[in-house]
Every structure is written in structure tokens, then in C-alpha cells.
Symmetry: C2
Subunit: 328 residues, 2 copies
């Protein structure tokens, strides 16, 4: 039985024997001291009986903006984003409704994505791992996530985790590191690679000039790693770091297919510490980037922006989780 007709504030008003304006006041909780208790009660009763719900389009048109918060994220095939989303959702109060938008695989959010959502008149926009060098400003508050160098961004303290990783590899006696990068233009990936190179040099290690790249799908990582494995080994590489765990899974798969022992012949590590990284063969060493923390911090910052405050942008802790893929 498709709904016979949208129920409007006018219908509620008629039923409650009052005006549309009063209905609006009550429904929006702005009736304190403006509407008498008995009338407010009648309105609420009518709302329940009719199943009235404020029309979003009309409301945000009249008000200038609505209660939508849009989170624009790159391709969700990286389970990392599930955590981010959870953090955002758990932090946003009931006043706001979260909707997500996902870019195509391997493409980071850009200015045009923000523009497309501005027309929805959202209360605010969250942009996760945007492409570097984009102007993401809009007519509504925008908070960036994992966007080193971005305005109004919530970031990880990647340096700490990377240093722990390099120290760990150095302790194990590794001298030369191979790197598997993401293909995307995300600033966070550029930074991960640069930090690793810096830390390696500082620790007396070297990074092989043979650097692969792939989008964050396991398959793509496997085929990129498959192409490079021999070259890496010839170049004296004994440890490969991937820009994300999903890429590292690809390296594990390629190594297994080629009979390259991990970690005996090649140590492997990633970034993210996904839940499934504890069950890979072998279990994966990874720089933990707690996604829910990132989502939570970004949502808090957006909320603060609504209230006029623009708090200090936090830097979220990261750390190394050592498992068998390096320590074996």
C-alpha cells in the first residue's frame, strides 16, 4: 500500500486545530514559551496519528540549510573506511543525518565532488583522504580527514608509526626496503612514502628506487607486486612496505605464488592494521591507523565549527603492530 499522499504540516495543523506556524514550532522543539502546553500536546498527538515527518527539501529551502552531513570517501574496498564511518556516525548527534558518497575505485575526492554536494544544502561536509592540492572550500563547513597539508584537517601523527616500523626493520637487520605505493593523488600517501624514506635514511637504511603502485584493491596489489618481486630481490630488498594493508595482502599473495618465503626471504608490512590483518598468512605487521578515532575527531571538529569554535586540529596517535610477516 504505497503511501496515499505525503502528510504535510497543513494536515497536522488542521487536525490539531491550530496553524502551520505552530506546528513548525512544536515539531522543531522551539515551542518553549511560545506555544501553550495543551496546544503543543495536541500537535504532538496529531503528528503521531498522522505519522508526519518534516519535509527535508522544504525545510532546508526555507532554513537555508538542512541537517545532512555528507562524508565523501574514496572507494570503500578498503575496509579502513568502515571504521572511519563508524566513528563519524557514533559522534554525530541525532540532530544530524549522515550520508556517504563514494568516489570511483582509485580516485580520491576532489573539488567537483564537494560542489556536487553543496547543492544538497548540507549542514557540513567531511572529505576523507582528498587528492592533494584541491580547493575543498564550500559555502558550508568542510572538514578534511587524513589530509596532510589540508585546511581544516584532522590528521594522523604518521611520523611516529613510521619511525617505529623502520626501527623494527633495522633491528631485524634489514638494510634495504622496497615500497609499494597507492596510485592515487592523496596527500596522505605521498606523506607516508616520504616519511618512510626519511626515517630509513636516518636509520642508515636505504629505500630501493624500484617503487610500485596500485589502487588499494588486493588484486591490484598482487599484480603490481608480482611484476616487481624479482627486481626487488635482485636489488637487495629484504623488506617491502606497502602504503596500505590491502596492498600488503597483494604482496603476500604474490610472494606465496612465487614461493618467496615471508618473512624468511622477504619481510612485509602495511599501513592501517585492518581487522583481517591478524588472519593473513602470515599475519601482517602494520602501522595502526585507528579509523574510528579519525572519524570521531573529524565529527567533533565539524560539530565545534557549527558552534562557532574552531578547535586546535588534533594529531591522532599511530603505532606499530608487530606480527609474523616481519618478526616471524
Amino acid at each position: 500500500m504505497p503511501s496515499p499522499a505525503r502528510v504535510t504540516a497543513a494536515m497536522v495543523a488542521e487536525r490539531a486545530g491550530t496553524s502551520i506556524a505552530t506546528v513548525s514550532l512544536v515539531v522543531n522543539g522551539k515551542d518553549r514559551g511560545r506555544v501553550s502546553a495543551p496546544i503543543a500536546e495536541r500537535v504532538r498527538a496529531a503528528v503521531d496519528e498522522l505519522g508526519y515527518v518534516v519535509d527535508h527539501a522544504a525545510s532546508s529551502l526555507a532554513r537555508g540549510s538542512g541537517d545532512l552531513v555528507v562524508l565523501i570517501a574514496p572507494d570503500l574496498s578498503n575496509p579502513f573506511f568502515a571504521e572511519v564511518i563508524r566513528g563519524v556516525r557514533d559522534t554525530l548527534t541525532d540532530r544530524f543525518q549522515l550520508v556517504l558518497s563514494v568516489t570511483e575505485r582509485g580516485r580520491q575526492p576532489v573539488t567537483a565532488d564537494v560542489r556536487r554536494f553543496e547543492r544538497l544544502r548540507p549542514a557540513g561536509i567531511l572529505v576523507d583522504a582528498p587528492a592533494a592540492g584541491e580547493d575543498l572550500s564550500a559555502g558550508v563547513p568542510v572538514v578534511q580527514l587524513d589530509a596532510p597539508g589540508g585546511t581544516d584537517a584532522v590528521n594522523y601523527d604518521l611520523a611516529t608509526g613510521v619511525q617505529e616500523l623502520v626501527a623494527h626493520l633495522a633491528d631485524l637487520g634489514h638494510r634495504r626496503i622496497g615500497y609499494l605505493d597507492g596510485t592515487s593523488r592523496a596527500a596522505t600517501f605521498a606523506l607516508r612514502r616520504r616519511l618512510l624514506e626519511d626515517a630509513a635514511v636516518a636509520a642508515g637504511l636505504s629505500v630501493s628506487p624500484i617503487v610500485g603502485s596500485a589502487d588499494l584493491a588486493v588484486d591490484a596489489g598482487a599484480s603490481a607486486a608480482d611484476d616487481l618481486l624479482d627486481d626487488w630481490l635482485d636489488d637487495g630488498v629484504t623488506a617491502v612496505v606497502a602504503a596500505a594493508d590491502t596492498l600488503a595482502y597483494g604482496v603476500l599473495r604474490a610472494a606465496a605464488a612465487r614461493g618467496v618465503a615471508v618473512p624468511g626471504r622477504l619481510a612485509v608490512a602495511g599501513f592501517d592494521d585492518l581487522p583481517s590483518s591478524s588472519v593473513t598468512a602470515p599475519a601482517l605487521t602494520s602501522v595502526a591507523l585507528p579509523g574510528a578515532d579519525l572519524g570521531r575527531a573529524a565529527a567533533l571538529r565539524l560539530l565545534a565549527t557549527f558552534d562557532g569554535g574552531a578547535p586546535e586540529a588534533p594529531s591522532l596517535p599511530t603505532w606499530l603492530v608487530v606480527r609474523a610477516s616481519t618478526a616471524g
Copy 2:
């Protein structure tokens, strides 16, 4: 530089020296035979210069509904949904804009979720793996995904994959199967379990009455499996089937922690065939449910509904992918 002020159709009209009505016609591509070429050209130029974009709220209010398609999905920690989303996005034409909504972990979409999005006046709503027995009808077209028994649903042919799995286990000599279910009320999970039981009986196997359940997170699956492992083994179980690969990962982890050899002492299989299922230890046997196919079929059905047609609901093929966790 926050946008100085929303640019409206009135501003475009003034610049182009025409009326608002004409701007609307041109912008919506309804100008053929209604607006002269030179004027249409002037409007388009003004649109470009001003960077005008139709206001979604105003447009959908005037028109009755907008160009949004909402996909409501359960918790994204299951990477399966990333595939579904990709299928939907790649199929929806440029006329529509996809936005996602995610329920809390372990909760399936219900009627209230649909209601909440009706007020956005979307063109249509897609609901993935809804709770059983919910009335999901709305004032706009609704298509359900992986919702056995649901109205207007696009489903998998689960029976085939399950039969292949049971035949495979029977071939290997297994006689008694343990089952790890999802906690959610999704109809698709109820069906998976029932089909497995039926197929087992038909093949002369039995299913242990000891059935665990957990939400689809790896951690939850591991702790549920950890609780049941001894009981299963005592009960003569030699193979455990989990309702989703993420749950099966949990079983693998629990077994490894307890020193239970897989598949030597216990075979393990799941549903979904996620990308990471090829890199687990051991690699996981799974009933493949191609997520992108599901998304694509659902989007096509929605598109067809817009055009008045309600095509036959397809049943999407599933199949068994055998890996080391059973065959090893």
C-alpha cells in the same frame, strides 16, 4: 574564500537577459523547440560564467522528487558491500546521484530507515539485506537486495552454491557440520542456514545443534568461535561453515590460537568470497556471492521501475570457490 553567495537562476536570467523560466528550461535540457538557439546559448554562457548549479532542495520541492538514489546498507565492516556499491554506482546513469546510508554494526535496515530517507524526496531507495518481515514500501520506488521473500527484491540463487559446498564437504568425508550464524535478523542469513541444513540432510550429513552467532566483524566471529570450538569438536564436528567470510576469518583465528589444525582437524568455509579470502591462513573456501552483480541488477531494476517497467526479478548465480581451508 567561501562562496560569496549562492548563485541562483534569477542571477543567471538577469545576466542572460531572459526569464527564470527560460533558464530552468535550458538547464534541464527541456529547451528543444521551446527556446530559440541564441537565447539558449546566452543562458548556457551565463551558467558557465557564474558557475550556476540548480539548487537541489528547491528543485525537488517544485518537482516533487529529486535525482537522489539512496542505498541503505548494513554496517560496512563487511567489504562485501563495497562491491555492491560499486555495481550500483557504475549502473546508475549520470541523471542520478547515489548516496549511501549505513546502519549501526550488526543492525539490518528496517522500515524506520526507509522512512528517514523518504523525506529527502529521493528518486528511489535501494535496501541491502534488510531485516526479515519489515514493510519497506514507501512513496518512492524501493528495490531490495539480497532479501529473500522481500517484495521487489533482487536475490542470489543461494541454493546452488550451498549445494556445491555440501557436496564438496561430503566428498571429503565430513559427516557433521558446525554452523556460525550472523546475529542479525536478515532474511538472507536465515535462508543460508536453512539451505545448508536441508542440503546436509539430503546428502546424508548432519548439522550440529551447537550453532554460534556473531555480528559480521572478525573479532566477534573469533570470540564466538573460541567459545564453541571445544563443544563442536566434542560433538564430532569436522567442518564449520560461517554465514559470511568475515565470520570465517574469526573461526580461522580462534582455531589458530587454540592449535586446532585447519583443515586437518577442522575444515572451514564461508559465504561471500571476499578479495582477502585468498590470502588468509589457510586460504578460505567460500560460496562466492558476486557483490557487484547484485548492485548492478538492483540498479537496473530501479531504473526500469522509473520507466514504468517492472521486469522479472533475476536470481543471480552463486558458486563454490574451493581453497585450502577445506581441501588443503
